[in-house]
Symmetry: C2
Subunit: 697 residues, 2 copies
């Protein structure tokens, strides 16, 4: 069943729902879906299936699926293990369009579970039924209401409708988000718990939601990434449709990644890699849980904002200072008021313009002054966004406090309100009025930084097709093994300058090679069987002339043979010694979740200690490569830091982009590659790759 | 008036309060103190002073202060500018014990204001009156109630009493904290807005609160530090009394520091310096505003906890995963359950022990299972603290959900509960029951990290008195100017190994000096008039022998004379070239706010880019110096990172401790000093200072 409209309808607006294993016992989790459907006014038909009951909660029950006549849009399977598998099989045979499985105990629970999960996959493949879960706590729509879920949080009296959709890999979190948002007066359009994602995964569901007229924003709670290509497509389509996609993902720490693995049987990718994925495809990633609910209101319905200059006005200095401090820590610039505002406030007895914060003080806590201030700040080209920080008036006179703020709902320029006291009423009024409002200075800062620096889907341009030379260098390396010479030959074929070198079959020929290349040289043993040449005694640096090189070569051969008697030696690589202003590492790998990535970092042990590197999905164009270079703090050394001599940043960007071409499908056999070091010379002097490796196959 | 008991009584439990400039007009801020005092049941006598009214809000008003008979404990001056100054003068003459001034417009408002503030200082000095403010929005006690404040937040119907005190440099924030804490069922004992701190500052007030029987914890909201010595004393006494001191301080960003300056006319110190202050004196610093209210419940009434191993149990995997992820990011280790718990859960059908998280799942959401789990975790020596993460039961069955948790209030081992949904009722029940409960996974993680790694007041030991040699090296440097030779002489006198060197008056004598010291050498011009010798051409390195050194010396003299014709040259320093495994910078300075500090960082441009350094109040003992070394990430290079050769960390610690002795009062004339570089050699090979500077006077 692959028609997205039918799938959408069956998932979110089903007319007839079968509950397989339904229960009338309110103490049982399996009774919840029916109770919640009924409680929240599901207008369609509920079809409980339970062989031992003729009626459940006032609705006639069926012995089995075959006892039900007519089409079934969605079947929620509330049975465990083998029984759930059998039920899915029955659904598939019966032509049910979508099934969900509540139970865990599949790939999330060891080898036996994984085998059961394999059965589910097979049934999906064979019957064409679409499956949510297993381990899915349900799929909910609010308008029209379909509370098809076993999550206890849906016991609320009223299911609030709204225009943001939630797709979550954690079932419990859809309940947590429901309750947290509801407490702030925010409702959702849809909430889906995708569970183990045997079939329908986050990406495909997000993709369905892009076309949903009731959905303006798509919020993701993620533990891993299973259908990256599909999510990428969804994020790009959502961006084009003006619907922000906002993700919270577990796994910023090792412990969190381990947990995501054990919790859902998922492979958790590295955090930097997921960041690169989000950036490439235009997904806004939040780091605070509360931000998932806080951020959308700042993004939805606004053109994309850009910049880092934020103007802040307030009636409460201390509260605003916290917002300013956090925004500055988040990398935003706080900018002062325009002349026009300072002049307007002066006759009102308010001295703004000394500092960057516009502090109206208590004297300015009047609706007209607040509104006049905001009007002038929002009209000012000197800032990219405006924040107003409210004090205790929000607590005691919510209507009065928010009235001048509500006028600015829907401004093109991002506008946010931060509340200093606990002021739930004001928060609700602002939210209902469409003004982004924040309780925590930290999440206000995170939201604003995200709003102004939100990634947009990148279109990679200027990356050429791999040349004939590159393809033949790959074939050569595959045939004979990727020793250093063949690795650098591939890099050279991609367009990366490599150190001048010559391969010679034996020590005697070293002298003439040095003559040809020019001293000083480095000498390296050639053997595809020795990955760590230095440890094997197979590397010598800074050899001053050909005679010395020949002597070193003979000694090296002896040492290497002693170290690795069975290695096949193919001679020596004689390489020109190169010097640069900085040593850079370029890394390429095919990530199991997000696909090819390219990483640039500073070479040497300090860069490793400081974990100072920038990662992107590959390939990258030169412009994006330049952004990567800017992100590597340690590369300030070639960007003119403290009057240091500048390096050839443009050539480095070209090399990164060329290297990232390894992502091309025609080079798919390269699974990993590294250039280490790539030396960066002075401006307009280029870069040169000195050593590297390629892992193929 | 310096008797702390009298001061305490007048501030927090005054019997007779004068309100100078009181108003009956509810629209005016100046009417608030009287309204709030009355509203919250102040049992003492209110004495409004207003020349144009005979009665205010039902209380007889006085023409002036002299019209009031008898003692006045506390006078709140609600007038502005000169009138406020005159009122303080009258209070001082009249023998009022404590006055507070509401108005701003003093040092927070330019030169005119600063001059007015000078008048306030003079009056305090001359009359002995104690002053809170100016720019103080009030001082509040809850039991017995004294709501002496103009902060609008105190318009609440009920002033909740509690056992934590708030001292804030921001007036508006006492209102924000009141409302935020009240919303969670938390009350305070006292709330003080200290304003510009002309007289009574944060430290002295905190010091008064240490002896307050109604106060268990002292919370500080700070923009700057004005009475550091007093606050240090208060923090140490509070620690001894088992009362945690918890601080939120603005100024983590440049913009925040600038704002703190302009907002209150304060000097904002550097953030690392304030951190060092907190660490030395045992103040727990929080980074999230919400943590100020969240953290105390985890600390109050518990013995000091130590460690990083946290056990986490839950009924809701996704919510717990967020807590785990944030705790791991905060540097805590998540540890698995003890065997005994795994065995106990097994027959109950709960499989714990596969991962580190104890996930009871829905099946374990029964009071006995939760309680049994917590009992076993809290008794386990394998962890240092326990967190329980509650799911939706907290929202719908708060009594049931919290019942098994409340049994563990007051455990010696830190125990916290994190709530996944919005569950205000559970939060309030837990808070009332004395269990630390958290709404945000981020602040739960911050609180737990702080709880387990809370600084305790440090007693510095093993730091010797400055020797006669050190005093004489200081005198010598002061007399003749601190060129490099005299700087290193001082360092040597402090006990820091310095590179072998000789000073010679002219180029001719260089040859014999090299003979004496041994080649290769470095040659440096000697002149107190040339601070940047390299730029002046006054440094040459790696000179292989004496003849070459003499040639270099003559050339150097010519270059330096051309560069700085008026500099007084005193000859040359011939220094043995030294090599080490790492270059370290040591810095010493006397900070205007916290006093002497010592900083250790890795030398070189990368360390500067990564801002990788550790700062402490000076002096430091060797143990604390070792901790500093561990905090400098880049020094992993001498701690055995990746099998690299280890450096002499012990000698480095000795050198840091010796260098920090510059803090000694006898060396007070040294305002700043730096050793750059200090070379760290291999294990048991020591360290050696190669270059440095001292700024005296």
């Amino acid at each position: 069943m692959n028609d997205p409209n039918v799938l959408f309808g069956s998932l979110f607006e089903p007319k007839r729902i079968a509950l397989i294993g339904a229960s009338a016992d309110a103490a049982k989790t399996t009774s919840r879906p029916q109770r919640f459907l009924q409680k929240h006014g599901f207008a369609g038909e509920i079809l409980p299936v339970n062989p031992s009951r003729s009626e459940i909660l006032g609705v006639p029950a069926f012995r089995d699926l075959d006892a039900i006549a007519g089409e079934i849009d969605h079947a929620y399977i509330l049975l465990n293990g083998r029984a759930a598998v059998a039920a899915l099989e029955a659904c598939g045979r019966r032509g049910v369009k979508v099934a969900s499985i509540l139970a865990g105990g599949f790939a999330d629970a060891g080898a036996d579970g994984a085998s059961l999960q394999g059965d589910l996959s097979r049934i999906v493949r064979e019957t064409g039924i679409r499956l949510v879960g297993p381990n899915s706590i349900g799929t909910v729509s609010t308008d029209p209401p379909v509370a098809l879920t076993a999550n206890a949080a849906f016991a609320v009296d009223r299911l609030r409708a709204g225009n943001w959709a939630v797709v979550s890999q954690s079932g419990s979190l859809i309940g947590a988000l429901l309750s947290r948002a509801d407490a702030r007066g925010i409702g959702f359009s849809r909430l889906v718990s995708v569970g183990n994602e045997v079939d329908l995964a986050v990406g495909e569901i997000a993709d369905l939601l892009v076309a949903d007229a009731r959905t303006d924003a798509i919020l993701l709670f993620m533990e891993t990434l299973r259908d990256g290509d599909r999510l990428a497509r969804a994020a790009r389509r959502a961006h084009a449709a003006g619907k922000p996609v906002i993700a919270y993902k577990l796994g910023r720490s090792e412990a969190g990644q381990e947990l995501a693995r054990s919790h859902t049987g998922a492979i958790a990718g590295s955090d930097a890699t997921f960041d690169a994925f989000c950036r490439r495809h235009g997904i806004a990633r939040v780091s605070m849980f509360e931000s998932l609910v806080d951020v959308p209101s700042l993004l939805v319905g606004r053109p994309l904002a850009r910049g880092r200059r934020v103007a802040v006005a307030t009636t409460t200095g201390g509260g605003a200072a916290m917002v300013v401090d956090n925004m500055a820590v988040a990398g935003l610039d706080i900018v002062g008021p325009p002349r026009g505002l300072v002049d307007w406030l002066k006759p009102l007895g308010i001295a703004a313009g000394d500092g960057r914060l516009v502090d109206l003080t208590l004297a300015g806590a009047k609706p007209d002054i607040v509104a006049g201030t905001l009007e002038r700040l929002l009209a000012d080209d000197g800032n990219d966004a405006v924040v107003f920080v409210v004090g205790s008036s929000a607590q005691f006179n919510p209507e009065l406090a928010v009235e001048p703020l509500l006028r600015f709902a829907g401004t093109r320029k991002p506008f946010a309100v931060a509340l200093t006291p606990a002021a739930e009423k004001s928060l609700a009024l602002l939210t209902a009025g469409g003004v982004a409002a924040f309780r925590q200075p930290e999440s206000c800062a995170e939201a604003m930084a995200l709003c102004l620096q939100r990634p947009v889907p990148a279109v990679v341009t200027g990356v050429a097709e791999p040349s004939v030379e590159a393809l033949s260098a790959l074939a050569d390396g595959k045939r004979s093994g990727f020793d250093e010479r063949r690795a650098t030959a591939l890099f050279a074929a991609l367009g990366i300058p490599v150190a001048k070198s010559a391969a010679v079959p034996d020590a005697r020929r070293v002298v003439s090679a040095v003559q040809e290349i020019g001293a000083p040289v480095a000498l390296k043993i050639l053997s595809a069987d020795i990955p760590h040449k230095t440890e094997a005694g197979g590397v010598a640096l800074g050899i001053p002339d050909g005679q010395a090189a020949a002597v070193v070569a003979r000694e090296m051969e002896r040492k290497v043979k002693a170290h690795a008697p069975h290695a096949r030696l193919e001679g020596f690589l004689v390489q020109k010694m190169e010097r640069g202003l900085a040593e850079v590492i370029l890394g390429f790998r095919r990530d199991p979740l997000v696909g090819p990535t390219v990483t640039v970092g500073l070479g040497g042990v300090l860069a490793e200690i400081y974990k100072d590197a920038s990662t992107r999905l590959a390939p990258v164009g030169e412009q994006e490569a330049l952004e990567m270079i800017l992100e590597v703090k340690g590369l300030a050394t070639i960007r003119g830091f403290r009057g240091m001599r500048k390096g050839d940043v443009a050539a480095l960007a070209r090399a990164i982009s060329a290297f990232s071409m390894l992502a091309h499908a025609a080079l798919a056999e390269v699974s990993e590659a590294e250039i280490n070091p790539l030396l960066v010379k002075g401006e307009r002097e280029g870069v040169v790759a000195v050593d590297g490796l390629v892992i193929a196959g």
